[in-house]
């Protein structure tokens, strides 16, 4: 069997998004389908999101296989997000993956969602050994490879940055996902910067104080655009600072951006400037590969499979608190 021709279907279902993608052994993304659960109001309810995923996972998988121009019988591997994520959501994806593997008689492999964000960046951009700034709703981590593991060099001590932006947006009547609306409002701002708590603790960051402070300023009548602007400037500066620290510490000269918040152009601009100023390079995967998606799961599954990782069905239990540094990285030297 030619390993570069091997087709893998990846299933993603850690949080809001259920996705499926087909990738070949050269990291060509043949398809990448997804559907996102939008709560009618408030934040995500894990069981309702899981119900959505359960309804949509089969059509999404079918669409992925069809768009890839493949037949189910041509798939040789199925990969799924094993964690970290919301239990009910993860279980939906894992169940779909197991049924598919059993019915097609092909191997199954559970992968770490955070590492998938990094590997799809290495697979589809020119980045070789980057520090990943992974910014999404639930996750905010700075990850880099060191001594045969992906290590977390910095992370949020409370909530993810996307979650922060959503909560902040909700207070101002902006619907989920609030990030793009905040970005738009910030771009129109002409008022001065409003200082907000800047909380970097060594390599870690904390967001809880900033939310309260912004809320207080809002009640005091601060204009929405000035709040959005100040929120972005403060929070992104924190993210870029810890990323730079990790780059200096790990001695890396590439930085990769991943996760849904990677779509924000101000964050890209700031990260790119930091990289340029230290003679480093920034890479950002295509936007459908930055958000939660099945293609990145498929690609990491392929990498792991090729390095010899095999998973019997009994080892495919989901792991809600699956840590990035738990995975033995056998596919890199």
């Amino acid at each position: 069997m030619n390993p570069t021709a091997m087709l893998c279907l990846g299933i993603e279902s850690t949080a809001h998004t259920v996705g499926a993608g087909v990738v070949d052994g050269r990291c060509n993304v043949l398809s990448n389908e997804m559907e996102t659960y939008v709560p009618p109001e408030g934040g995500i309810h894990p069981r309702e999101a899981a119900n959505h995923h359960a309804e949509r996972v089969v059509p999404v998988i079918r669409a992925a296989v069809e768009k890839a121009g493949a037949r189910f019988s041509e798939l040789e591997l199925v990969a799924f997000s094993q964690g970290p994520g919301l239990g009910p959501c993860l279980r939906t994806g894992a169940t779909a993956a197991r049924s598919l593997a059993v019915s097609l008689g092909i191997p199954i492999i559970g992968v770490n969602h955070c590492i998938a964000h990094l590997e799809i960046g290495r697979g589809t951009t020119a980045a070789r050994d980057p520090v990943l700034l992974y910014v999404s709703g639930g996750n905010t981590q700075v990850i880099a490879y060191m001594a045969s593991r992906y290590r977390i060099f910095g992370e949020t001590l409370d909530i993810g940055v996307g979650n922060l932006l959503d909560k902040f947006g909700r207070g101002m009547g902006l619907a989920f996902p609030a990030g793009p609306k905040i970005e738009k409002s910030a771009a129109t701002n002409t008022d001065p910067y409003l200082p907000l708590p800047y909380s970097v603790k060594g390599m870690d960051i904390s967001f809880s104080g900033i939310l309260t402070a912004a809320e207080v300023k809002r009640r005091e009548g601060a204009p929405a655009s000035a709040l959005c602007y100040s929120m972005q400037e403060t929070v992104f500066a924190m993210l870029v600072e810890v990323t730079e620290r990790a780059m200096a510490h790990a001695e890396k000269d590439e930085v990769l951006l991943g996760g849904g918040v990677a779509a924000n152009s101000r964050l890209r601009q700031m990260l790119g400037r930091m990289a340029a100023d230290r003679g480093a390079k920034m890479f950002v995967p295509a936007s459908r590969l930055c958000v939660d998606n099945g293609a990145m799961i498929a690609w990491l599954g392929l990498l792991m499979h090729r390095s010899g990782v095999r998973m019997p069905l009994s080892k495919t239990k989901i792991c809600q608190r699956f840590r990035t540094d738990e995975v033995e990285v056998a596919w890199r030297n």
């Binding site: 200082p195 603790k201 060594g202 400037e233 600072e241 730079e244």
Partner: protein, 216 residues
């Protein structure tokens, strides 16, 4: 921005270290460089407040009984933010621990622990307790680089301090049997709440952060 008059001896993510002359003495100038990626007003206030904090921690550390470089000058001009301090021409504990016979290494570890205990008693956490941030000069053990430090009594932060130090002992001085425990003994003699802080250190390790090994 003008370069400082001296030799660049180090560069971190946040600051440059220069070896400079100050009133006829050799001194270290730590300059927090402006970061163009963030808003100028935010950048300025961060660099100024951190420079001030570090100057204060160096002083308070010394008052708590831990030798630190004397601060000669604090310059908060918006485009410079330079902390000029005594140049400690000493040997890094990192090298000493590897060079000394085990009994000497244990004795030094004990002293390191005492010093950390004094800092914590004084309500100071260092934030980056590696053995390269400790220098021995004429029998005195100096602690340097309080750039990530804070004034706090929080056990959690003290636990992280110990955890970082344990990591340093584990990765750089793995062959030194008993030195980390000896360090903890010294810590216990100098700090009333040592037992609680050590317990917290273990909890933090179990959470899987600040660790080289996957536990459990």
């Amino acid at each position: 921005m003008a370069e400082l008059n001296g030799a660049l001896i180090g560069r971190g993510a946040e600051a440059e270290l220069w070896l400079v002359g100050w009133m006829g003495r050799r001194a270290v100038a730590k300059r927090r460089v402006p970061k163009a990626y963030r808003l100028p007003e935010l950048d300025r206030s961060l660099r100024q407040s951190r420079t001030k904090l570090e100057a204060r921690l160096l002083r308070e550390g010394r008052l708590a009984g831990v030798p630190t470089p004397l601060v000669y000058d604090v310059d908060l001009a918006p485009d410079s933010c330079v902390l000029t301090m005594e140049y400690i021409e000493g040997e890094q504990a990192k090298h000493l621990l590897n060079r000394l016979p085990l009994i000497g290494a244990r004795r030094l570890s004990h002293r390191i622990g005492e010093a950390v205990g004094r800092l914590h008693t004084g309500g100071i956490v260092h934030g980056d307790l590696t053995t390269s941030n400790m220098l021995l000069r004429r029998g005195k053990l100096y602690f340097i680089d309080f750039g990530l430090g804070a004034t706090t009594d929080a056990l959690e932060v003290q636990g992280v301090d110990l955890r970082v130090l344990k990591e340093a002992f584990g990765s750089t001085h793995a062959h030194l049997g008993g030195c980390f425990d000896e360090m903890l003994l010294g810590y216990t003699t100098a700090y009333d709440r040592a037992a609680e802080a050590v317990e917290r250190m273990k909890e933090i390790a179990a959470r899987g952060r600040y660790t080289d090994q996957v536990e459990g």
